[in-house]
């Protein structure tokens, strides 16, 4: 049963080498749904931490939360991709390119799955580096100068970061090998947790710090975040959704593992590092978001901010951990819908600049509404699920320090200003009469060309899947506020217990 989590993406990967793109898109739907249902089945029947595939992999509560997140978003993205591929091929992009798209995407998902469920930290590292490599070519999918530059930055920075992460693992290995000797067991997370009290505290702390900076680069903590907005904005929209929604969480998982080990060993300093980086990330995001001119970059900054909040929540502890775990899931859904719906706009207009896009409310009635509501949701407004996560985290923050709470709120308002103001600019903007007259005149001149453009630049020209998948995501996100499935809630609660070291491995 558990093996299916890895087998299914692997199967998809292998098939995607051979299959035709259109066939692949159908198959991808099936496999994504299968993965999702596997994960759901696991979640429904999950009772305690289980090791599988020769103790290389395991599932505990924390990675189950992330697993659920990944599989859910992956399913939606698969559905979206179904429409995306068709729309893009219709607009004249070669099928061969999309064959690569499916190949790399499946590789990405597979390596992400491997990372998430790995028990062995070395395997975790390998998987995480593999996600960088798999997504590298997806980020440069458009083959423009900007996308290559973004990819370069992405690969270099993340490789360096993950190399530092490797050093963290080496240090940890050195520490644990004094208990277990030089064997694979010394890297096994479950074993490390069992032996946590016997480990050298200074080295554990060192390992955490290296992991924080190293994997933190991949999470997008400020000031190591610089690759993130570029990379997330350049890829195809479904990939951006996955990058922002789940890959960041996968990298965060690494930090959390080190944190857990430290916590179990009785070292409590790491929480201040998490709080510090979380706060710094929120601040950097808050102060830079207003100056962004590209809407996908805007959302990338928002991802950063949310990772900051999540880290802050984990650092604060207590009730905030539940909030952070919920936030991981909700943020993935919400960010997914933002990237997907903005993907529709991008697919039709081929324009990334905010000021060039206007009057979405007329041309893209559903998409624009989803976009607007999505931005509200991502700012933590009530009728959407992220409100729950945010309120839990903020409750924790207020419990620890009222001043910090207000400070974070102020920063969140800044983010709201940037994010919402810009999206609103795209949403509104009826043409004035003068402009309309100009347009009419220019229409006379190049009658045909304009007409073609006019026909294309509305929502109607994209595949219906692309319109309705974000909408459904939005509805799901809104519904989750009112009803979080109890089983999921139990997992989240157990995960928070596990995180606080209250579950014995």
């Amino acid at each position: 049963m558990y093996e299916l989590i890895l087998i299914l993406p692997a199967v998809a990967l292998i098939i995607s080498i051979f299959a035709d793109v259109l066939w692949m898109s159908y198959l991808q739907l099936v496999i994504s749904v299968l993965i999702f249902s596997t994960v759901i089945t696991i979640a429904m029947t999950f009772s305690n931490i289980t090791v599988f595939l020769g103790s290389f992999f395991f599932i505990d509560y924390i990675n189950l939360v992330i697993l659920i997140t990944v599989s859910t978003l992956e399913m939606f993205v698969a559905f979206y991709s179904f429409g995306y591929v068709r729309t893009e091929i219709a607009s004249g992009i070669s099928k061969r390119k999309f064959k690569f798209y499916y190949f790399w995407k499946n590789l990405f998902v597979l390596s992400m799955m491997i990372s998430i469920v790995s028990n062995n930290l070395g395997i975790y590292w390998t998987g995480l580096e593999a996600t960088t490599l798999a997504t590298a070519l997806l980020v440069s999918f458009n083959r423009t100068k900007e996308s290559f530059e973004a990819t370069w930055k992405y690969v270099i920075m993340c490789s360096v970061g993950i190399a530092i992460g490797l050093f963290a693992i080496v240090v940890l290995y050195f520490t644990t090998s004094q208990v277990y000797g030089e064997s694979l067991q010394s890297l096994s997370f479950v074993s490390i947790m069992r032996a946590s009290s016997e480990l050298d505290k200074n080295f554990l702390m060192l390992a955490f710090i290296l992991a924080l900076v190293g994997f933190g680069t991949k999470v997008g903590f400020a000031p190591m975040h610089n690759w993130l907005p570029d990379a997330h904005s350049q890829g195809p929209s479904p990939v951006s959704a996955l990058l922002s929604g789940v890959l960041l969480n996968t990298a965060l998982l690494g930090i959390l593992r080190f944190y857990q080990i430290n916590w179990a060993a009785g070292i409590y300093y790491p929480r201040y590092f998490l709080i510090g980086f979380g706060f710094l990330t929120i601040m950097v995001s808050a102060l830079s978001i207003i100056k962004q001119t590209d809407y996908k970059r805007l959302f990338a900054f928002s991802s950063m901010e949310n990772m900051g909040i999540i880290a802050l929540g984990f650092g604060i502890g207590g009730i905030a951990i539940i909030g952070s775990l919920l936030q991981i899931f909700f943020h993935a859904l919400n960010k997914g819908l933002l990237f997907l719906s903005s993907g529709n706009v991008l697919a039709v207009t081929h324009e990334r600049k905010i000021e060039k896009i206007k009057n979405l409310s007329n041309n893209f009635p559903i998409t624009s509404l989803v976009l607007l509501f999505g931005v509200m949701g991502i700012s933590g407004m009530p009728p959407f699920a992220m409100f729950l996560g945010e309120i839990y985290i903020m409750t924790g923050v207020f419990r620890s320090n009222i001043l910090l709470g207000f400070l974070v709120f102020i920063l969140l308002i800044f983010i709201f200003i940037g994010l919402f103001g810009k999206v609103l600019k795209m949403y509104t903007g009826n043409m004035d009469n003068a402009e309309r007259m100009n347009e009419l005149q220019s229409e006379k001149v190049t009658h045909r060309g304009i007409n073609d453009n006019k026909r294309k630049k509305t929502e109607g020209s994209v595949h219906p899947f692309m319109i309705y998948v974000p909408l459904i995501l939005l509805l799901v996100s809104s519904l989750l506020l009112f009803y979080v499935p109890p089983q999921f809630l139990n997992i989240v609660k157990s995960a928070s217990y596990e995180f606080q070291g209250r579950i014995i491995f």
Binding site: E129, T132, L137, V155, L166
Partner: protein, 205 residues
């Protein structure tokens, strides 16, 4: 004991190669130096393998030689040939300053290493200092040099530093993990090479 002393020689050579790398603006030379540096690393691992008589380290030696000494430099050379670059031209600081800076970084890392690593913990007496110095110098290379290639070199230097540190305090990671790590490294170099080619093409056109 003898093995340890010989190992120290190799370590010193790693540092020398890194400093040479800082002092030279030529890319071909830098790749050669990297290959040499990796070889020294491999020898160091080999010495460790003999000393501890660990099969794990033998394996580690083998894959290090394969990947780091042969495959990666080979691909880098190939890419360099296709990109037709032979000299580093853009640097934020001049070479003499960079060398002096590298020296002071070594001093700094000696200071730090003595704070955290107890004597006798590592295989070879000042391995950790050298590893840290290599790491910092690699970082310096990445920060100060604008050309894409030297960033790769810097990254690889950092990677070597981490390998060195890893092998100095532990007796090598489990082979499986090491294989994964090196394979990832190799693929990332491949991808970076592809990117360099693409960027070159884009800039040229």
């Amino acid at each position: 004991m003898i093995m340890e002393k010989i190992a120290e020689l190799f370590i010193i050579l790693i540092l020398v190669s890194v400093v040479l790398n800082v002092s030279s603006p030529f890319l071909k030379f830098a790749i050669k130096l990297y290959s040499f540096q990796s070889l020294m690393l491999a020898f160091y691992i080999f010495m460790g393998a003999i000393h501890f008589n660990s099969i794990n380290l033998y394996g580690s030696f083998a894959i290090t030689v394969i990947f780091k000494v042969i495959l990666i430099p080979y691909f880098l050379f190939k890419t360099l040939k296709r990109v037709k670059m032979d000299k580093e031209i853009d640097m934020y600081i001049g070479i003499p300053e960079a060398v002096v800076f590298a020296g002071s970084l070594t001093l700094l890392s000696n200071l730090i290493a003595q704070k955290i690593i107890k004597i006798g913990l590592t295989f070879g007496s000042f391995v950790f200092t050298i590893a840290l110095a290599t790491f910092l110098i690699g970082a310096m290379l990445m920060i100060t040099r604008k050309t894409l290639f030297s960033q790769i070199i810097g990254f690889l230097t950092i990677d070597n530093a981490i390998f060195l540190a890893g092998n100095s305090i532990t007796h090598g990671m489990p082979l499986l993990v090491e294989l994964g790590v090196l394979f990832d490294l190799f693929v990332s170099i491949l991808i970076l090479s592809i990117l360099i080619l693409n960027l070159r093409r884009n800039v040229a056109s």
